[in-house]
């Protein structure tokens, strides 16, 4: 064996082991969902069954938690995406002397442990609602949306800042020059330009919200989401129904990933076609001149 092929083999082994570490646990858990054994395991595989999925579908707490997680996810998207966009635009416009401080403040939630965000949200709103004399806003769903939005908005802002940096200010001036008002420019030019960033922000915001545990477990108070119900179940004991839930989530994720890949390929093909057309037009132009 030559040195080069030994190197290749070592590299292949390393990558193989890495992905085994990454997928092995999920695979084992996934298979255990179909095993009749009442403790989640794959050895011995006692028999194939769909029963754990049925158990999952009949678990009222889980279904309730799922609904609540979906509602919270949608609310977080509705809050965090516009806030993140505003945060990114503000980053460009704030007086340069305050920029560093502003950035520190709005990025800090990304670097703060989730439990602390959850705790502080609960403390603040408990005190505030007590002072105001109305407990209406001291509500698990509301606090969870706020707590999660604190760092999810920062993710959205970072995505928007990256896109905004590629915005040509001349487009804004061109709109103004053609007679558009500032508001029209925002809706007609800036927002369409930001669309890809806003879409990825929305997807990221929803997924981050849906899978969040650390912040949620504090902020949700007495209410439940899918992850908090799940955590409770896992602490009570292991049942293959939990594996079944993992299988469902993995299946949805894989579908999402495939869909993303298909859309991406289609978009790449479209861009390639446009580039081809442009170079053809360029060649024709030169022939005329």
């Amino acid at each position: 064996m030559t040195a080069a092929s030994a190197k290749r083999a070592a590299l292949g082994l390393y990558i193989g082991l890495f992905f085994l570490y990454l997928f092995g646990p999920l695979l084992v858990m996934g298979i255990s969902a179909f095993n009749t054994s009442s403790y989640p395991t794959v050895i011995p595989f006692e028999g194939f069954t769909w029963n754990w999925f049925l158990a999952l579908a009949n678990d009222k707490d889980m279904i309730y938690g799922l609904q609540n997680s979906l509602i919270i996810g949608v609310c977080v998207v509705a809050l965090a995406v516009p806030v993140g966009l505003a945060g990114a635009i503000m980053m460009q416009q704030i007086t340069p002397r305050a920029r560093g401080f502003y950035y520190l403040v709005v990025v800090s939630p990304v670097l703060t442990p989730g439990v602390i965000i959850g705790i502080s949200t609960v403390i603040f709103w408990r005190d505030l609602t007590t002072t105001l004399g109305s407990r209406l806003l001291y509500n698990g769903d509301f606090l969870t949306v706020l707590g999660q939005s604190s760092f999810i908005s920062a993710y959205c802002m970072l995505i928007c800042i990256a896109r905004l940096q590629r915005f040509d200010r001349a487009l804004e001036e061109a709109g103004l020059d053609l007679g558009a008002s500032r508001t029209q420019i925002f809706w007609h030019i800036l927002l369409p330009f930001m669309r890809p960033a806003l879409l990825s922000s929305a997807v990221l915001a929803f997924l981050s919200s849906f899978e969040n545990y650390n912040t949620t477990t504090f902020a949700i108070l007495a209410d439940k989401t899918l992850t908090t119900v799940l955590a409770g179940r896992v602490r009570q004991g292991s049942t293959p129904a939990i594996s079944a839930l993992a299988v469902v989530i993995i299946a949805v994720t894989i579908c999402g990933a495939l869909l993303y890949e298909v859309l991406k390929r289609r978009d790449d093909a479209r861009k390639a076609r446009i580039a081809r057309l442009a170079s053809k037009a360029e060649a024709q132009d030169l022939a005329i001149a």
Partner: protein
């Protein structure tokens, strides 16, 4: 100062900071250092209001004030509701005293349980962070500099996929494998390597494996992004000059990827030390992680001021870690949060 006045101070503090910056901006404009249209002229009234309201709601009500309230509460005594605002409601260090000595008054003995848990959490988080770096660096380098574009896209997709399975389930997967009647024990027993099941969870193997697994992605992405922007010709040039492979990494790749490394390490440390799901699911009965202790202060002991103090200690630890990383790498905050 009475703690009731404390709230007013905490509410006013951010407003004073904003007012200060507004004043500076005003002076700059007056003296002609800043020109061009003002904020509302530039955005229009409607959009301008949206920007201001959205950002101030977020920065004040969602980020800053909750944190300040939590810190403020950490310095207050636990009192029954009736005594709130009364003569005993003054600022105190008793919650921190409890963390150190296990008592709000006596300083005779150390609070061994909590201090050990805290110390173990910090050390374990640093080890997990370092381990993750060693595990991810080669793959990040391979993807960023060696692999073809199509392969990289596939690998990225494969890397992201497991992370939309939430933390609790990821931890659970390790329990399925490492539990006393888990897959690994069954395999080892079947192979005759051991006679009785090994308690991997009790030995904290499960905890460390689960923690390292949980945040692998957050290490590999910053590393990949940083190394990807390195011009491959630099590496070739170094190789041409006869540099051995480890020197290429030590002298060229790692210094270049410093912001990415710092970013990955900061995120992994923060998430690991603040992890709640993995310790709850995978922690053995003897392994006390710090975050569940904080959780218990709130929902078992119902001592919110003490819980706040503990959370504040965790926050300070993370801030210290971020500052240490920035100082060590001579980096700015903007460089590690991209």
């Amino acid at each position: 100062m009475r703690s009731s006045d404390g709230h007013i101070f905490v509410l006013l503090l951010p407003l004073l900071v904003i007012a200060g910056f507004a004043l500076i901006a005003l002076v700059d404009r007056r003296q002609g250092r800043v020109t061009g249209p003002g904020f509302f002229a530039r955005n229009g009234v409607g959009i301008g209001l949206y920007l201001l309201l959205a950002v101030s709601f977020w920065a004040l009500l969602v980020i800053v004030l909750p944190q300040l309230f939590m810190v403020e509460m950490a310095f207050r005594p636990k009192l029954p509701p009736a005594a709130t605002g009364g003569p005993r409601d003054v600022y105190t260090l008793e919650n921190f005293r409890y963390f150190l000595y296990g008592s709000t008054t006596s300083t005779a003995a150390w609070n061994v349980t909590h201090l050990t848990a805290f110390w173990k959490t910090i050390v374990a988080s640093i080890l997990v962070t370092a381990g993750n770096f060693l595990l991810c660096y080669p793959l990040a380098f391979y993807m960023a500099q060696m692999a073809k574009a199509a392969r990289v896209r596939l690998l990225l997709l494969l890397l992201i996929a497991p992370y939309w399975v939430n933390e609790v389930l990821r931890a659970f997967a390790f329990r399925v494998i490492l539990g006393t009647s888990g897959v690994l024990n069954k395999l080892l027993l079947g192979a005759g390597l051991i006679d009785a099941p090994v308690d991997f969870l009790g030995l904290d193997v499960g905890l460390y494996a689960g923690l390292s697994y949980a945040y692998l992605l957050l290490m590999i992405f910053p590393l990949y992004n940083a190394i990807e922007s390195l011009d491959g010709r630099l590496i070739e040039a170094a190789r041409d000059l006869g540099a051995p492979w480890w020197r290429i990494h030590k002298d060229i790749v790692i210094p270049f990827a410093k912001p990415g490394i710092a970013s990955g390490c900061t995120l992994v440390f923060m998430l690991t030390s603040g992890a709640l799901a993995a310790p709850l699911v995978l922690g053995g009965p003897r392994s006390l992680w710090f975050t569940p202790i904080v959780y218990d202060r709130f929902y078992q002991a119902f001592n919110w001021p003490q819980g706040s103090a503990y959370a504040f200690i965790l926050l300070l630890t993370c801030v210290a870690f971020v500052l240490a990383v920035l100082r060590l790498g001579k980096l700015s905050l903007g460089e590690i949060t991209r």
